[in-house]
Symmetry: C2
Subunit: 286 residues, 2 copies
């Protein structure tokens, strides 16, 4: 089937009427556009698992703070559509801001605890915006499965918490982070990095891998491991650290004693670009 | 069909499988039980309009403040079931608190502006709890129509705002308030009134009717009308006034100049019992 592009909710619902029903599965990959190799992987995994696949493209204003990069967030619709067509997507849903957030919009979803640390602490209101837009998209497109990238692991935890608490009939899938050959996690924001910043940015993943090694080698004092990680990051003068933490992968709460799987997560700034990354530190044999 | 009583989400979903589908309509009357003539009317209207009808019974803890009457809120399941059976309800959904709010529950729906006055001002968190439980019930029972009483007019506005903002495929119906012969709005809490309080309580509806008369006779200064109403209420020494306001019926914001339909709404206390009521002041010919 050819790709349908819907720019309104009514248009999306019309496209959904021809989607296969009953026993077959619908997939959704929610994105903010500027599709890259990370999205490519999400769409490929979803395409394999679902009979009908929608990709939403919407730069969601409510998840950006007033000082953040909503205005400069990359937008590249033509190349996004070409990629979706190439990957066999059935529907691209690309709604207008006025239909998703009309002037009368007043409803927000708040998720406690899992949003209190990491990005939730440094971007107040961010996950409120994320949860609200994801709930809207789930209600509009009614997928059986929705796909999120592990780079935004806290986002997946937030969405899963919402889905469970609101009894939504959707399966949330997390797809491993796609990395450049030097390890940098692929992100739409990478294109804003200068050459020296681009090189310095790799320190984040190197640090996270080092933390994983320490944990797998038996380190138990999370504070000690974290201080070692911060020392590594501080060797890169272009990098400002926003946070570096070891958290429980289910609750996203910082741990002090490492007693099971932990997620090491960090956020750094290079000039005006903010990057995040994380790795699961888990002994797969134990 | 015989009444099915489900005490779990899985049980409700099983009952829904035998519900008529495709073109036929499902109704939901969400209640906190202790069903009275007001609920009776809601259920009768819903029964006429829907092919399959669910009544939920759940005293929702998140809409009660810490100092409020959650513990003493009336519960009367046997008589509730008898009434539902008599009215031809298909499903009574009476979930346990642990399934609706497990210890891990973290998600709440917040609705701005329409909750900032009237009950929203005097019961902080009340409509957050209402919106959250209604969204859960809508997601679990997937009705085409849900029914609410006009006595809780602000609640209807809040639910309609949520339904619109979250793109939920449900029609919210408001059913007129049922009153005792002396005008007192029927409420589960009326049974906690002593004989003298019961008599004094009628002053609220008399005041609201008086306000409507003033508005229909051309009063335009809402402050003046409100002061007249407060004077009437103050003649009843057993009554403490929580609020008395004239608000825009769509936004629930107080008006200063009366230029179209307004809703007059009040909340009073008689001892430990809190009662609310409201009337729409609208010139049906104009």
């Amino acid at each position: 089937m050819a790709l349908v592009v819907a720019t309104s909710i009514a248009g999306a619902r019309e496209a959904m009427e021809v989607a296969p029903k009953g026993g077959s599965s619908r997939g959704l990959v929610p994105t903010m556009g500027a599709l890259h190799e990370g999205h490519h992987e999400l769409i490929q995994v979803a395409r394999r698992e679902c009979d009908w696949l929608a990709v939403s493209i919407f730069v969601n204003p409510t998840q950006f703070g007033p000082e953040e990069d909503f205005d400069t967030y990359p937008r590249d619709l033509e190349s996004d559509l070409a990629r979706c067509r190439q990957l066999g997507v059935d529907l691209v849903f690309q709604p207008g801001r006025d239909e998703i957030y009309p002037a009368t919009h007043r409803t927000f979803v708040e998720i406690e605890t899992v949003t209190s640390h990491l990005c939730g602490r440094f971007r107040p209101g961010h996950f409120r915006g994320v949860a609200t837009i994801v709930l809207k998209l789930l209600n509009i497109l009614e997928p059986d499965r929705a796909y999120f990238g592990e780079k935004d692991a806290q986002q997946t935890v937030v969405v899963r918490q919402m889905v469970k608490d609101l009894h939504l009939p959707v399966n949330i899938r997390q797809v491993p982070t796609v990395r450049d050959t030097d390890g940098l996690a692929i992100s739409s924001r990478n294109r804003h990095l200068g050459l020296r910043e681009r090189k310095a940015a790799t320190v984040l993943f190197r640090t996270l891998k080092e933390i994983r090694t320490m944990v797998l080698q038996g380190a138990r004092d999370a504070g000690q491991v974290r201080r070692n990680g911060l020392r590594l990051l501080s060797r890169e003068p272009l990098v400002q650290v926003e946070y570096l933490d070891l958290v429980d992968p289910e609750t996203m709460q910082p741990v002090s004693r490492i007693q099971g799987p932990v997620r090491a997560a960090g956020a750094i700034r290079l000039g005006r670009v903010r990057l995040i990354d994380n790795v699961l530190c888990e002994d797969r044999d134990g």
